[in-house]
Symmetry: D2
Subunit: 147 residues, 4 copies
C-alpha cells in the first residue's frame, strides 16, 4: 500500500520548475499493454494547468472574466522515449523557457523515477474571448519567467 502524500496541485520549486505526481490507471493504457500515446498529452496538460494554478492563474476564472484569456496549444513537439505502464507513478515537470507577446514556450518532461519517458516543447497562445491572440499582461508574463 502506497501511503506517500503528494500536494494535489504539485509543487513549484525555486528553480521555476513545477512537479506534479500522477498515477497511471486503466483508462491510460491500450491493448499494447502500454500507455496510449495521446494520454501523455493529458498528463502534460494536467501539469500545465497545475503549474498555472501554482503561479496563481486559475484558468476557469480567467475564462469567465470580462477580460477573458484562454490558453490554447499552438504547436507541440513530443518525443516518446519510453513507455509507462499500468500502476506506474509518473512525475510531470513543467517550466517556461520563453514568454513573448501572446505566446509562451513551455518545456515539459514525464518521468517514472529517473527514467525519462516523454520530452515535450509546447507553444501556448493566449487568446481573448473573440478567439484572437491576446498579448499577455506584463505582470502575468513576468510570473511565468520569475525564478
Amino acid at each position: 500500500m502506497t501511503t506517500e502524500h503528494f500536494p494535489l496541485s504539485g509543487e513549484l520549486g525555486d528553480d521555476g520548475r513545477h512537479r506534479l505526481v500522477q498515477r497511471v490507471y486503466y483508462e491510460d493504457t491500450d491493448f499494447s499493454g502500454r500507455v496510449y500515446h495521446a494520454r501523455y498529452l493529458h498528463f502534460l496538460e494536467r501539469g500545465r494547468t497545475d503549474y498555472l494554478r501554482c503561479l496563481g492563474v486559475e484558468q476557469g476564472a480567467l475564462a469567465g472574466s470580462d477580460d477573458a484569456i484562454v490558453f490554447v496549444v499552438g504547436r507541440m513537439e513530443i518525443d516518446f522515449k519510453g513507455p509507462a505502464v499500468m500502476d506506474d507513478i509518473v512525475t510531470i515537470q513543467t517550466h517556461t523557457s520563453e514568454a513573448a507577446g501572446a505566446r509562451l514556450t513551455i518545456e515539459q518532461e514525464i518521468r517514472v523515477g529517473e527514467k525519462l519517458l516523454i520530452a515535450a516543447k509546447v507553444s501556448v497562445v493566449a487568446i481573448s474571448s473573440s478567439g484572437r491572440p491576446r498579448r499577455l499582461p506584463a505582470d502575468l508574463a513576468a510570473r511565468f519567467l520569475a525564478h
Copy 2:
C-alpha cells in the same frame, strides 16, 4: 480491406430504431486487451447524438439558441455482457421507450455482428440554460415517440 459504406450519422429505421456503425480503435482499448468499460458510454453517446440528429435535433444549435435546451444524462443502467476488441465493428442501436415532462427513457444496445455486448437504459433530462429541468416542447417529445 473494408470498403463497405455507412451513413456517417447512422440510419433511423421505420421501427423508430436508430443504428450507427462505428469502429473500435486503439484509444478504446485498455491493457486487458478489451475495450475499456467507460468507452462503451462514448459509443452510446455517439448513438444518441446521431439519433437526435436523424430526428432533426442538432444539440450544438439547441444549446446555442435563446431558448436553450441541453440534454444531460440523469441515470444509466448498463449491462456489460461481452467484450469488444481492437478492430471490431460495432453497431449501436437506439430508441426512445418513454418521453414524459423533461425526461426521456432511451434504450440502447451495442453489438458486434449478432452478438449483444452492451444493453443500456438511459434516463436523459432536458435542462434549460439556467440548469433547471425543462419540459420538452410537445413537438419535440412527439418526434421521439413517432414510429
Copy 3:
C-alpha cells in the same frame, strides 16, 4: 494555490470505506461546461483501483500471474445528481457491500465538498485468463468485507 497534501492512492478508513481525492482537468469537461458524463466512470475506476491497491490487490500483478485474475465490470447503475466543473476537487468513496462467488458489489459516491454528484452501484466479476468467471479466493473475498 492549493498546498494540501493527499495520499496518492487514497485512504482506507476503519469503516471499510476508501476515499480518493482527484482534480477535474480540461480533459474531463465537455462543451456544456460540465464534466462529460462518461468521465465520472474514470474517476470511479480510479477509486476502485486504489481501493484494491489499499486492500493489497495489485491488478497489474494479478493479471500477469500464472493464476491470473482480472476484474471486469458486469453491471453499473449510476445516478448523475449534479455536475462537477473545471478545477473542482472531487472525493471518490468506495466500499464493498457484497462478495459472493466470482462477483463483488461495490458502492461508490463522488462528491465535491459535501455535495453528492454521483451514486453508483458496480457489479464486478473476477475472470480468469481464459475469460471465464472465477470464484474469488476466500482470503481475497474476506479482505473486501473486513471492517
Copy 4:
C-alpha cells in the same frame, strides 16, 4: 439529417493519400467549446490505423502473430491551426513521406471542409514483441511508399 455515406475505413487514393471522415462528438470537446487538443491525436491515430488497414496491415493480427510487430509513435510535431467544434465533420488525410529501417515518417492533416485545422508529422517505429525496434520487412516498407 446527414445521409451521406462514407467508407468505414476511409479510402486510399491513387496519390497514396488516405482519407477518413469522422464526426466530432461531445466526448471530443472541452469547456472552452472547442475540441480538446489531445483528441486530435485520436483522430490522427484512427487515420493511421485505417490507412494501415487499407494497405492490408491489420495491427491486431500483426501484434498477435509469432513474428509480432507493433507500431509505436516515436515523435510527433503537431501544428494546431484552428479549432473544430461539436458536430463538425472532419477529414483526416494520411500518407507516408519516408520509410527507412524500423522507422516511418507519416504526414497527416485534419480539415473541416477546405479549412486546415491540424498538420502533423508523425515518426512511427516498428517494434518486435521484445520491445526493440525491428526493421520493416521489405514488402511492408514497399507498400507504404507505393504510389
